[in-house]
Symmetry: C2
DNA sequence: CCTTTTTGTTAGGCTGATCTAACAATTATG
DNA sequence: CATAATTGTTAGATCAGCCTAACAAAAAGG
């Protein structure tokens, strides 16, 4: 079952507050999310109805296992999107965070998986920051390719080891 | 001013129908979007109220200049996201399209610009499909890096021409 | 041209998500 | 501990966006 982006936002905010060793209260959620307190009360009621949180009147709010799982998933998507925007597209952090906040609700698990692997592939390159990514930065700044990077783009004219004509993506779907 | 994702969806659908030389009617929009006709009538009313479309009773629906502009922007975001997912992350088309449909409403203009440039940089590499991307495909399939691709990852250990310690992203923000 | 079919609109209901205003419970403090 | 301040809830409104049912207008076809 899929939950609304609003619900996901509340779950995420509650998880982050709880992880920060904070007592999770209506007021704190309200401040963290920039909504009024009655909105929080009613949202929390919705969470409870959906089995995603526990809340006794005037007491603290806690996520259930299910709620926590969803919150973690949302947060994973948030982080993946944000890292991609910042580390690869060189979008400035503030904008990246806002975009991630909005898009985090809509990335499928398949795309998330691929995005995670892509970031890992790029950023954990055992030989440092990939040259092609530096080349992309150059391209962003100067509006054209730097021939010195291009030399490395595809030395064998696109034929890579073991990559025959149509091997691309064949085993992926 | 920002419009809701629902409004953007209607604009996009109307534009695509119109581009397809079709008469844009309530019924066609309804079919194209998978919503009932009264929903379309009321959505179109909202479009008209916002100056995004024209519609005389029982007649055809046309976008205004403003409406068309927004529709085009949405569609650009859609295409950029979809191309990225398919061509770079190797997500299968069906999933990519769905993801793009949902995320297209939430990508900032800054991120779109960067994403477009990134795709251009990668896909229009003058020497063919970049080796590193082929390496990523290998990584997806086999779960590990192919040493033959790695040799090309960053030959000079991360020091690229003219790339001194902190030049990264400096001129970008 | 009259009737049937298709198309479009109106009316009215529901849900999620927000808000303000007013009130109730809890906590802090002199 | 009594009162003030803070915190939380309730009540009630609004809005977008969808739906179904019923009706009205337009188009098609004998």
């Amino acid at each position: 079952m899929r939950h609304s982006s609003s619900i996901e936002d509340y779950l995420e905010a509650i998880m982050l507050l709880a992880d920060g060793e904070e007592k999770v209260t209506v007021t704190r959620i309200s401040q963290a999310m920039g909504v009024k307190k009655p909105s929080v009360t009613s949202a929390v009621t919705r969470l409870v109805e959906n089995g995603l949180a526990k809340h006794e009147k005037y007491g603290e709010i806690h996520l259930t296992g299910q709620g926590r799982k969803i919150a973690r998933d949302v947060y994973k998507r948030h982080q993946a999107l944000k890292r991609f925007l910042i580390d690869i597209l060189a979008v400035k952090e503030e904008v990246a965070s806002e975009d991630a906040c909005r898009m985090e609700h809509y990335l499928s698990s398949m795309s998330l998986e691929r995005l995670d692997k892509f970031i890992e592939y790029v950023m954990e390159c055992p030989q440092g920051k990939p040259l092609w990514l530096q080349g992309f930065n150059y391209y962003l700044v100067h509006g054209k390719r730097n021939p010195e990077y291009m030399a490395v783009c595809s030395p064998r004219c696109g034929n890579a080891p073991g990559d025959t004509e149509n091997s691309r993506n064949k085993e992926l779907d």
